[in-house]
């Protein structure tokens, strides 16, 4: 199998050559890399390749099947578009980290065993932390550290799970795992950290908006979607995922409504969209898994498109808070149009990509008569239109006129956004192409009259609600503020923990230290200076404590004075000088005792 290049290799190895090249050569190289990797991927036949024996295990770098290919294709497409988007910025370090990160995500998707999966999983964390740090502000550096801590924590949990699982099953093959056995629960949880489950999600909304313009576009595509892939691979039909996913679709939209940083709004809606995919995995039917795969494919495109448009706004204005923006449609009309296409896609307007992918998951939920989930998903669909579909374009490009008059985004950014927008519309208008690459045969028709009308009703009346609330000034005005989220637990919690360490725990530790290393040794030292005298004092003290009642007052007084006298000149005349003769007598005595014991014991033995 030497003639097959594992799909991840071209990106990962290629990333290290980025800083060696300059100018035009570097640009061409960067754009060719994903194309080359894509061509390589297409020519690898389905099946398992790149198997290496390691200790007793089979490491599989290249497991190509219909499930992994969906993610493989879209990862290549989005890597190409992201590079094209950022090519004018000439940020060697970001391209290097981004390519490395994308390569590891591709590696994770195509790995067929848990060991190589784990390695790619951890390397992804390194790549993404470098992307966050690339912004080089104090905020981004701190956010990067927090991101790293959360992900390494998740990674350790995953590693524990893998070790337990391989011990329980004697195999490290990465296939269906399902929730049985301790190891599988650890693996499930480890995947969940990267999948941004509720309460584990705040690394995402904390760190993504702090990254660079290019970095955030890279980040939005890979980490969570890789987690969705591994869950779809190993835990389809796990009921817990239905509830986790349902929660994920609902709670972020409340945060998104009151958030000021527009890229953070998009981060919240990212969790909301991943929620739909997680529900699809939890349902576990062919339709729902298809829905998850299709939605991941469509989602990566429109989410990147939205982040790209916000990045373009940031690139031109240097601002990203809704309070500072507004009215940019005047000078950035094309960016505005592309943003609206992305917004329409995420909101699942008919003829846009979200419409043909999200509805598969919702249909699957309805087929199973999951009433609560279904109501929540419809609510979340209305909600995502509200904050991503309307809020993002409205506050950036319309709304109040911020007075900013800038230039349209650079040409390469426009082309990248244009291609992404075109793909969103193409998928929405001609879903058959996307459906043909899904893991299972598709028997689903998105464009029925009743579906289109229902969806349009839902969306237009959501828009109506927004309009009426906005016109009546009930809509929450944007405020320069920070909204605490689950990251409060470790950001403030860490301080509480430090306080706990510095105060009660440090006091306790200090007490133990002084007792063990100071008080007790000193007592020994004191005792050993004159053991006889010390014992005498102890004896006297004991005598008083025990027999004070029966002694006469004078006697007690006498003993007390004696103790006080002894203690004042303790250790006193500790060293008693003896004559040699005395010593000899002692030695003779011991020898005699030894002789007697020897004779007596000998007699007894006989």
């Amino acid at each position: 199998m030497i003639n097959i290049v594992p799909p991840a290799l071209i990106f990962i190895v290629g990333s290290f050559f980025v800083p060696l090249l300059k100018g035009r050569v570097q640009s061409v190289y960067l754009l060719l890399l994903p194309v080359l990797s894509f061509v390589n991927l297409i020519f690898i036949p389905e099946g398992t390749h790149g198997v290496i024996s390691f200790l007793d295990y089979q490491i599989i770098f290249c497991r190509i099947d219909r499930l992994s290919l969906v993610w493989g294709y879209i990862f290549h497409i989005i890597a190409f578009l992201t590079i094209l988007y950022g090519i004018n910025m000439k940020k060697d370090n970001e391209f290097m980290a981004g390519l490395f990160y994308a390569g590891c995500a591709i590696g994770a998707v195509f790995s067929g065993d848990l060991i190589s999966l784990f390695c790619f999983w951890e390397m992804m964390t390194i790549g993404s932390v470098l992307l966050i740090w690339a912004r080089k502000t104090r905020k981004s550096i701190n956010a990067g550290f927090r991101y790293a801590l959360v992900h390494f924590f998740g990674g350790v949990i995953l590693l524990v799970g893998i070790i337990l699982y391989s011990y329980e099953n004697g195999s490290i093959e990465f296939g269906y795992i399902g929730l049985n056995g301790l190891g599988s629960y650890f693996i499930f949880f480890g995947f969940g950290v990267n999948c941004a489950w509720p309460f584990l999600h705040s690394w995402l909304t904390d760190a993504y908006p702090e990254s660079t313009i290019l970095g955030t576009v890279f980040l939005s595509a890979f980490t969570t979607k890789t987690a969705v892939y591994v869950l779809a691979r190993s835990f389809p039909g796990t009921e817990a995922l239905i509830w986790i996913g349902t929660l994920m679709t609902a709670f972020p939209i409340f945060f998104a409504v009151i958030e000021n940083d527009l890229r953070r709004v998009l981060s919240y809606s990212l969790i909301n969209q991943v929620g739909f995919m997680v529900v699809g995995i939890g349902i576990g039917t062919e339709l729902s898994i298809n829905g998850t795969a299709a939605h991941a494919f469509a989602h990566i495109l429109y989410k990147s498109l939205l982040f790209m448009s916000m990045g373009a706004v940031m690139y031109r204005t240097g601002k990203i808070n809704a309070t500072d923006l507004g009215g940019l449609y005047r000078t950035m009309p094309l960016t505005c149009i592309f943003c609206i296409v992305g917004a329409a896609s995420i909101s699942a307007f008919p003829l846009f990509s979200g419409f043909v992918s999200k509805s598969m998951v919702m249909s699957a939920a309805a087929d199973k008569h999951l009433i609560i989930t279904w109501f929540t998903l419809v609510f979340a669909s209305a909600g995502v239109f509200h904050h991503s579909g309307i809020k993002i374009p409205f506050f950036a490009f319309f709304g109040h006129d911020s007075g900013i008059r800038t230039k349209e985004a650079p040409l390469n950014m426009l082309i990248a956004m244009g291609i992404a927008a075109a793909l969103c519309i193409f998928i929405g208008a001609f879903p058959a192409t996307l459906y043909s690459i899904l893991p299972f045969p598709v028997d689903y028709v998105p464009y029925t009259m009743s579906h289109v009308i229902s969806q349009l009703q839902l969306l237009m009346f959501s828009a109506l609600a927004f309009t009426l609330l906005y016109l009546s000034a009930i809509y929450p005005s944007e405020i320069r503020a920070l909204n605490v989220d689950a990251d409060w637990l470790y950001r403030k919690g860490a301080r509480g923990f430090l306080w706990l360490l510095e105060n009660p725990l440090a006091w306790f530790g200090n007490q133990v230290k002084t007792t063990v290393f100071v008080t007790i040794p000193q007592a020994f030292v004191w005792f050993s200076r004159n053991p006889l005298m010390a014992l005498k004092v102890a004896g006297n003290n004991m005598a008083i404590a025990l027999f004070e009642e029966s002694f006469t007052k004078e006697k007690v007084e006498r003993i007390r004075t004696r103790i006080a006298e002894v203690l004042t000149d303790y250790p006193g005349d500790a060293i008693r000088y003896s004559h040699v003769g005395t010593t000899v007598i002692w030695v003779m005595g011991f020898l005699l005792a030894y002789l007697i014991i020897y004779i007596v014991s000998g007699r007894i033995a006989l």
Binding site: V257, V378, G383, M449, S450, F461, P476, A481, L482, V484
Partner: protein
């Protein structure tokens, strides 16, 4: 800066709003003539999606504004 842009003219905003209200009305009317094949019985009610979308969004905004913001809002340097 005397250049006039699309929505600087109040008339255009009015057109947009009319279009929005009009399309909502049309959707409700069309609804009576479309045969629904639904999973749930309530999906067959006319205007279920319209009402749900509207109520959901109003509820969402009110809950976010009056409940969630009260709980989670802090000053921008809260963590510093």
């Amino acid at each position: 800066m005397s250049k006039k842009y699309l929505f600087d003219n109040p008339k255009n905003i009015k057109i947009l709003l009319t279009f929005l209200f009009g399309s909502c009305l049309v959707l409700v009317i069309i609804n009576f003539f479309v045969h629904k094949h639904a999973h749930f019985s309530w999906e067959e009610w006319s205007g279920f999606y319209a009402a749900y979308g509207f109520v959901a969004c109003v509820g969402l905004v009110l809950a976010a504004k009056f409940i969630l913001r009260k709980i989670v809002k802090r000053s921008e340097d809260y963590y510093d």
